[in-house]
């Protein structure tokens, strides 16, 4: 018998090996285990929530949301800092060059 024929025969034998298969039987005390599991599952709702949050899609979406919020806060902070800087510079230069008009009261009441 040639090699190819032999391989074909082996494949056919493997395919027909489950022809007279018997049904596998469940392990004993299945009902007890089902009841125990049902009781456990009613308690572990938090576990289910944890499992849901830890799913890659949910975790990744959460991470993206956090990063987006961070970026938004940084951008809004930068723009408000710039406004404050402009105000501070204006105040400083007005103090330096005394833009305000001195009144007669200021001239005669110089503080030490």
């Amino acid at each position: 018998m040639s090699n190819i024929e032999n391989i074909n025969k082996l494949a056919e034998e493997a395919l027909s090996s489950v022809d007279s298969i018997k049904r596998a039987t469940a392990k004993p005390f299945l009902l007890t285990r089902i009841h125990a599991r049902m009781n456990k599952e009613t308690v572990s709702l938090w576990e289910k929530a944890g499992w849901y949050i830890s799913r890659p899609v949910v975790a990744f979406a959460g991470l993206c949301l956090i990063l987006l919020i961070n970026a938004a806060v940084i951008v809004s902070k930068n723009s408000s800092t710039q406004t404050t800087n402009v105000e501070q510079t204006t105040q400083a230069s007005s103090d330096e060059f005394s833009y305000t008009v001195a009144t007669i009261y200021d001239v005669y009441n110089n503080q030490p």
Binding site: N3, I7, V18, R23, K27, I34, R37
Partner: protein, 193 residues
């Protein structure tokens, strides 16, 4: 007690009816799950999950299809979900192992022996189950229900919610693909000897 009465009692939350249901159908659920996941512990887990789901959602069973068909559908869907979860865990474990410096135990692919196979055919069946993992899910389900559960093509069509023609085609393609995979396997085996 006949089946409609049993279901009616179960819908009313009767514990004894649930016990009878488990006793009557446990082997069928376990054997189907075992054929798909090829692991006894996993099949046991799935069997438990199936009966819990049946208990929780029996009110939604309207009797349009046969109860056994409904049960088979739940079992197949749970078994496939279980497989997906396991694959995801494996992938995550692989990524973890890339960042882990400690030497860890290398897990070899498990060899599966179906307890219902005759002793003299065990080795050949082991090889068949090994290549069964490589064919598409639909073909695998149709083949498993037909060969392992002894369901007729018509019954498989009802369980898979498809036509008789589609099931015949699925089973025929499953056999062809399995033969191809087996020839590939025996071919490499000859090369190594």
């Amino acid at each position: 007690m006949n089946q409609p009465d049993l279901i009616a009692q179960l819908q009313q939350g009767d514990e004894q009816a649930f016990t009878k249901l488990v006793e009557e159908w446990q082997d069928m659920v376990y054997n189907t799950a075992l054929g798909i996941v090829q692991n006894e512990e996993d099949a046991d887990d799935i069997t438990q999950e199936v009966f819990i789901q049946v208990y929780q959602s029996i009110s939604s069973f309207k009797g349009i299809s046969k109860f056994s068909t409904w049960l088979y559908r739940i079992t197949v869907s749970k078994a496939l979900d279980h497989e997906k979860k396991k694959k995801r865990k494996k992938r995550f474990g692989f990524v973890q192992s890339l960042f882990n410096n400690q030497d860890e135990e290398i897990l070899l692919p498990a060899v599966f022996d179906h307890p219902g196979v005759e002793l003299e055919k065990k080795e050949k069946a082991r090889e068949l189950f090994n290549v069964l993992k490589n064919i598409p899910d639909k073909q695998r389900i149709a083949f498993t229900l037909h060969k392992l559960e002894g369901k007729s093509h018509q019954e498989v069509a009802e369980i898979m919610n498809t036509t008789l023609f589609a099931v015949e085609s699925l089973i025929s393609r499953a056999k062809a693909n399995l033969k191809k995979e087996l020839i590939k396997y025996y071919g490499t085996l000859k090369d190594t000897i």
